[in-house]
């Protein structure tokens, strides 16, 4: 492989108990062939107080294990407190920060940073602007087809393109907490019901088909994106990093599968089967990179459609 593609572990999206978070990052540090790990609460600021110490310890441990630590800002900065928290994170972090909205991106102007998947970058005009603003790496919006990614990579060389390759896809943000609403509660008195669903609360259609997943103010896909069958296309398009989003599955095994695939130790078909076996809570999908509905699975079971 000419230029070794890298693996990122995205920020934990869900409200896990502090001890689980601690154990999770300890295992990632010790066992996962991951290059970079994102830390930080990006969905709901009410969860942050329980995690501050855990994440600080995780950062140290991950760094000792040779991982690059990237701190991610909250995706929807809805009030002055949210903005202050983002500014504090930006000011207090020496290393890379990932901007998950335009506010944080503006705070990071002139300094090397990462742009996250909930910031809109669809064309080379905007990508080039971001590069001039200091972005060194951009995790693209999940709905971009491979063709668009190739056009971006060709026209704005020198910025590292990353794509969500495993995990539920982030689809929407609101000021309304749907987790609380589903339990008949108001956001201000949410009783942290989001902690009940370690991978998000499944949402079905009225005919019982899995559709979406709710994670507080965030709406995710029900299906887990799995881009293993499209890996050659994506490497050819210029994707240099694949992002794996934490779930309550054997994440080090998911990471190992990806590393094996990128290093040529396994075929895409084997990788796809391993990921499908590890992903116990949902089906997999890959429609977006093929320019189709995100919920669809294009790679067939009997072969790898491209």
């Amino acid at each position: 492989m000419k230029d070794r593609a890298k693996l990122t572990l995205g920020p934990l999206l869900f409200n896990w108990p502090a001890q689980s978070v601690r154990d999770f990052y300890a295992r990632v540090a010790d066992e996962a062939p991951i290059d970079s790990v994102h830390l930080g609460e990006i969905v709901c600021p009410k969860r942050t107080p329980f995690l501050a110490d855990v994440l600080a310890d995780a950062a140290e441990r991950l760094a000792r294990a040779g991982k690059e630590v990237v701190w991610s800002t909250q995706a929807l900065l809805a009030d002055a407190r949210d903005v202050r928290a983002a500014r504090t994170l930006v000011q207090q972090t020496d290393g890379l920060v990932e901007a998950n909205d335009v506010t944080a991106m503006a705070m990071l102007a002139g300094r090397p940073h990462v742009v996250g998947p909930t910031v809109n970058v669809y064309s080379e005009l905007t990508l080039a602007w971001m590069a001039r603003n200091g972005a060194v790496r951009v995790c693209l919006p999940p709905e971009l087809p491979a063709q668009a990614i190739a056009a971006l990579a060709e026209r704005v060389p020198g910025i590292e393109l990353e794509l969500l390759a495993y995990g539920r896809m982030p689809l929407a943000l609101s000021v309304r907490c749907y987790h609380a609403r589903a339990h008949g509660l108001h956001k201000d008195g949410c009783q942290f019901v989001c902690a009940d669903d370690s991978d998000g609360m499944p949402l079905e259609t009225l005919d019982g088909e899995p559709f979406l997943a709710v994670n507080g103010i965030q709406t995710l896909s029900h299906a887990v994106v799995d881009l293993i069958p499209a890996v050659d296309t994506l490497l050819g398009a210029g994707v240099r990093r694949f992002r794996l989003s934490p779930h309550r599955v054997d994440m080090p095994a998911v990471a190992t599968t990806w590393r094996d695939l990128l290093d040529g130790r396994i075929e895409a078909g084997d990788g796809r089967d391993r990921v499908a076996r590890l992903t116990t809570f949902a089906d997999v999908a890959d429609g977006y990179v093929h320019g189709r509905a995100g919920a669809t699975r294009i790679a067939r079971a009997d072969g790898l459609a491209q």
């Binding site: 002055a80 956001k187 949402l203 429609g287």
Partner: protein, 330 residues
């Protein structure tokens, strides 16, 4: 304290709707070109270049302005249609360009510095720091605020910025942060950001199933209706879904926004302009809603009580909400 009269910004999906809006008292009319460069890229809607020129002339004769929305995100490798839309709108005399994409804002700033730039709601700039960034970096003069803020928060935002704000006062209600929502493309492959559509009509089907009417979007059931129940359009976030085994309108009921009774509060919060949603709606809707808002805005400016708007029948789904403007919504 006296308040400046609120500017009434009205939708036009067709030249006929533009004339209706101007005749009913619109201060400004917003519209888009007939392609994917705007967020209402629906069949049979929008304006050719010639129609825009005629529309601008018609509006100007009545003292009104035309704002052109170029508020989707340009396609990678092919931003030409978006750049031409900006160049043509500016040269035809649009009073402002309504933009969301950073690359397009930079293009407009560099090539058409004399044309006002408004930040589209599709950029979802919801806090003073984000707004100040768009103002200082791209010379944005007005921001259309996302429908996620309470009136109290809008007042706080206005106190901290130097540019105008425009808020939605009537019509369709996005419950997600605008321009950051992929629900439509997840189900259909077509999104507001890339295609200018949400829950597109081409992927909507209605089926009869065991005596019930089922509305589908792409491969997904969005709602089911019993006989006699009013069946609405399957906009994804207004659908009925099951969580924890219970069916409900989890994201939002099939309601639309009506903030006409909140105009005094919005004016006191420092808002410059009121936006009426509905470029996809007909001329009759435009006439009725714009007239009602004209009367309300004029009454407010004269310090008189608001007249009864009588808009109950034109709201989408027939039900109305003040949405995020009141904190209880969350």
């Amino acid at each position: 304290m006296t308040l400046a009269a609120l500017e009434l910004v009205c939708p036009a999906g067709t030249p006929a709707a533009l004339r209706a809006a101007v005749d009913a008292g619109a201060d400004s009319v917003y519209l888009g070109f007939r392609d994917e460069t705007n967020a209402r890229n629906f069949p049979g809607l929008n304006f050719s270049r010639a129609e825009l020129a005629e529309g601008i002339a018609y509006a100007e004769r009545a003292g009104a302005r035309v704002l052109v929305a170029i508020n989707t995100y340009p396609r990678a490798g092919d931003p030409g249609p978006w750049l031409r839309a900006i160049d043509d709108a500016a040269s035809l005399g649009a009073a402002a360009l309504i933009l969301a994409d950073i690359g397009l804002l930079a293009h407009a700033r560099d090539n058409h510095p004399g044309t006002r730039r408004h930040l589209s709601v599709q950029a979802a700039a919801a806090n003073p720091q984000a707004i100040r960034f768009y103002a200082s970096e791209f010379g944005v003069r007005r921001v259309v605020l996302p429908r996620v803020l309470t009136v109290t928060e809008i007042a706080r935002v206005n106190a901290e910025i130097d540019v105008e704000t425009e808020v939605f006062a009537f019509g369709g209600l996005c419950v997600m942060a605008e321009g950051r929502c992929l629900l439509s493309s997840y189900a259909t492959g077509e999104s507001p950001n890339m295609n200018g559509v949400c829950s597109p009509a081409g992927q909507v089907r209605y089926e009869e199933r065991e005596g019930r009417l089922v509305s589908r979007l792409g491969d997904f059931t969005i709602n089911m209706f019993d006989h006699g129940e009013a069946a609405g359009y399957p906009t994804l976030c207004k659908g009925r879904f099951k969580a924890c085994g219970r069916a409900s309108y989890l994201f939002e009921e099939p309601t639309s926004l009506d903030a006409i009774r909140m105009l005094p509060e919005l004016a006191r919060a420092g808002v410059t302009a009121l936006k009426i949603e509905g470029r996809q709606r007909g001329r009759a809707y435009v006439t009725q809603v714009v007239s009602a808002f004209r009367r309300a805005v004029d009454a407010l400016a004269r310090g008189e009580p608001l007249p009864d708007p009588g808009l109950g029948t034109v709201a989408e789904g027939g039900r109305q909400t003040t949405g995020a403007y009141e904190k209880g919504w969350r």
